[in-house]
Each structure stands twice: as structure tokens, then as C-alpha cells.
Amino acid sequence: MIDESELKRLLSVAALRGGAAAAAFERVYRLTSPVLLGVALKIVRRRELAEEVLHDAFVKIWRNLDSFDPHGTAIGWMSAIVRNRALDLIESHDMSRVDSYHDTTRSSHLDSIDDNPEASLDRLFDWGSAEGADQSLARKRAAAVLRGCLGELDAPERQSLVLAYEHGLSHGDLAVHLQRPLGTVKTWVRRGMEHLKRCVERCGGAAT
């Protein structure tokens, strides 16, 4: 379990760049790298590429420790950096070339996606881990509201959002995978986010 308040403390020690910084950052790495490698692997789907994403992301995290906003969650901030690096990688020229070398078309790659949305939802939310003692109530409530609001979406909207987020799928990938026209899928994603935002605001669940 990742202790969010401990993680924030370690990040702030590392940000000071003093004698204790390296040890603190190593601890951050030990605590978070398995789950962050999982995030990368869901998107790039190849172990060696996911390890590269993880490495690059930690380089970026180290260099940008100053820009972490302590109002947010540390693991959320770090996983956004990992996600962005992974998304960059899968759309780079290289990746499509590497894929073609391995004779995997994008659509067969899509076939292997496990898309039980309920299981995906469970993977996207960690009920126990994000709660430091100090802020547990507000944070727990925000997570519960988000989860509840996702549950209220129409199934196709929920499935589109969860698939796109977890696996880094594009609109085109989603259209292939869900076997629906591109325009339909784009609408699901857009409306899904609109409905989600409205629901979260109505429930007052936005984390502050």
C-alpha cells in the first residue's frame, strides 16, 4: 500500500536537493515504481518499452519535483507523467514501425485488451492506498464520488472513457475495438466527460 502522506514527505525532501535527497528519491522509486510500471505497461503493452517509459518518467519526476502541487496527490501527479510519456511513445513513428516488425497489427493488439469495464474500474481506483491519515475523508469521498458518477454514465460512455484512459487508445482505436463509427465514439468520449464533470460537481466531490 502506498502511503500518500509519506510519499509527499519524501518528495519534498528530494526537492530540497540536499544530502538526504537521493535516499528519499530512492524510497519514492521503491514505493511507486511497481504500480507506475503497471500504468505504463497497460498503455505500451511491451515490457521493455514500459521499462523505458518508467525510466524516462522518473528522470522527469526528479527534474520537476519543484512543480508538484501538494494540493493534488503525489501518485496521481507521478502517474500523469508516466502516462504522458507512454502516450508519446505509442504514437511516435518508432512505435508503429516496431509494431509492424513484430507483425502485430494495431487491431490484433486491440483484440487482446481485456475489456471488462467493471474490472477496469477496480484497477483504476485504489481504495486503501491513497489515504494518508490527515486527508483521508476528503480524498476518500472524492474517489467515491468519481466512482459513483462513472457508474451513472451510459455503458458505452463509461466503457469508452475507461478503455481510452487505461490503454491509451485513440478515437480510431476505440472505433475499431468497439466496432462503431468514429463519430459515434468521439461523441461517447465527449459526452461521457461532460456528464462525469456535471455529476461530480453536483455531488460536490471535486477534490480540493
Binding site: L89, H93, L196, K197
Partner: protein
């Protein structure tokens, strides 16, 4: 755009967060994010709506090489040294044993570290360091060692290129943040990585060349021997 009504901007922020904003549009959005405070404000607002935290259920143990490699690239062992200075006595002995302990730790942590053979020396007038490229015994990994630690300037990455011996177009071997790095050699490039081919490093936007060909200055070149 009217103040208080940002429907379009909000929609783009949401696509960015979900990850469906791709390619050129994604990079343009990231530039706007750096330059336009309003974009950052709206993104943070949407983030408050949608920030699932990754679950332990997806955790995968990284390779044991992960931390030592990161430490080398970020130069963290240097920052780790000062503790012994507080003890005053035997500083050099302490340093030696720290280095030994580190060497042992790295050896123990990487019991099956691949063997590397140097295949090229890369140099250039504008480069911060010279670089030795070495290929693993299974030819799957290319390791770069810089004469001194050099990380890419802020907002940019280094990209390693293979210039095939037959003079055909450069092929990217990977994007790295520093000149001490390891890249996986794509299977079909392995055969191109032979005598007469060249390796080169260019400076590219963060994340690598957007076009698939070098776009920034080439700072290092060396022939494969």
C-alpha cells in the same frame, strides 16, 4: 473566448486527460499549457473531476537494473556522498568503502547483467561529451557511456540514430534524456548495426523527433567498427 464559458477548451482538456488527444494536437495543447495560464487553470479544474489513482492490482516489479541506472543517469550517488564528511575521520576510506559497497550492490542486483562490447566512439564539436557505444552480447541492447554526465537541455531530448551503411535514411534507435543510457535495438535494425554504419545523436523536442527523421542539430557522430 468569453470569460467564464470555456466549453471548447474544457472539452480539449478532457480529451488530453483521457488521452484521446493525440499527435500534433497533443503537442500543441502542451505548448499552450506552458504558455497560456488559462489552459492550466481549466485543466486543473477538470483534473479535480477525473483523477483515478492507479491500483496496486496492476503493479509489476521493475527490473533490478532500474534504480542503479536511474541513479547513474541522474548523478545521484554524488549527492549521496556528503554524509561521511560529517564524521571527519577517514573520509577517503569512507568514500572508498561507499564506492565498493555501491559496486557490490550493483553486481549483486544485476546477477545476469549482459556483457557489452564497444562498437563505436561518437564525437562532435558541439557535444557536451564524447560517447562510447557498446552492444550487448545478444545484440539486443545498445549502451551509451558519456565521458561526463550530460542531460538534454530543458524542453528537449537526445535521439539516437542509426545511419545504415548503404546510405539509406537514418533510423531512430530511441529517445534518451541523457548521454548515459541504454536503448533496446529493434529486431530488424540489428543486422544494420554493422561495420560501415554510423551512429549519431541529435537534439530533438522532448519525446523525440515529431517526424521520424532528425529535425534538430546532430551533435555526435561515430562509425561502427
Amino acid at each position: 473566448m468569453k470569460l467564464g464559458s470555456h466549453t471548447l477548451l474544457d472539452a480539449i482538456c478532457a480529451e488530453y486527460l483521457i488521452g484521446t488527444l493525440k499527435g500534433h494536437a497533443r503537442r500543441r495543447f502542451e505548448r499552450a499549457l506552458r504558455e497560456e495560464p488559462l489552459v492550466g487553470l481549466r485543466l486543473r479544474d477538470i483534473e479535480r473531476t477525473f483523477t483515478p489513482l492507479p491500483s496496486e492490482a496492476i503493479a509489476v516489479t521493475p527490473s533490478t537494473d532500474g534504480w542503479p541506472r536511474l541513479m547513474r543517469e541522474l548523478g545521484l550517488e554524488v549527492e549521496r556522498v556528503p554524509w561521511y564528511r560529517r564524521f571527519g575521520l577517514w573520509p577517503s576510506l569512507a568514500a572508498v568503502s561507499a564506492v565498493l559497497a555501491l559496486a557490490v550492490a550493483i553486481t549483486v542486483l544485476r546477477p545476469e547483467a549482459p556483457r557489452f562490447t564497444d562498437i563505436a566512439q561518437l564525437a562532435g564539436d558541439k557535444a557536451p561529451a564524447t560517447v562510447t557505444a557498446a552492444l550487448s552480447s545478444d545484440r539486443g541492447l545498445l549502451q551509451l557511456r558519456a565521458s561526463q554526465p550530460s542531460t538534454a537541455p530543458s524542453g528537449s531530448s537526445y535521439e539516437l540514430w542509426l545511419l545504415p551503411a548503404d546510405g539509406s535514411a537514418p533510423r531512430s534507435l530511441g529517445v534518451v534524456g541523457a548521454l548515459d543510457a541504454r536503448v533496446t535495438v529493434p529486431v530488424t535494425q540489428v543486422s544494420e548495426l554493422r561495420r560501415g554504419a554510423k551512429l549519431a545523436v541529435s537534439i530533438e523536442p522532448t519525446g523525440g523527433s515529431p517526424t521520424g527523421a532528425p529535425t534538430g542539430p546532430v551533435i555526435l557522430v561515430g562509425e561502427v567498427s
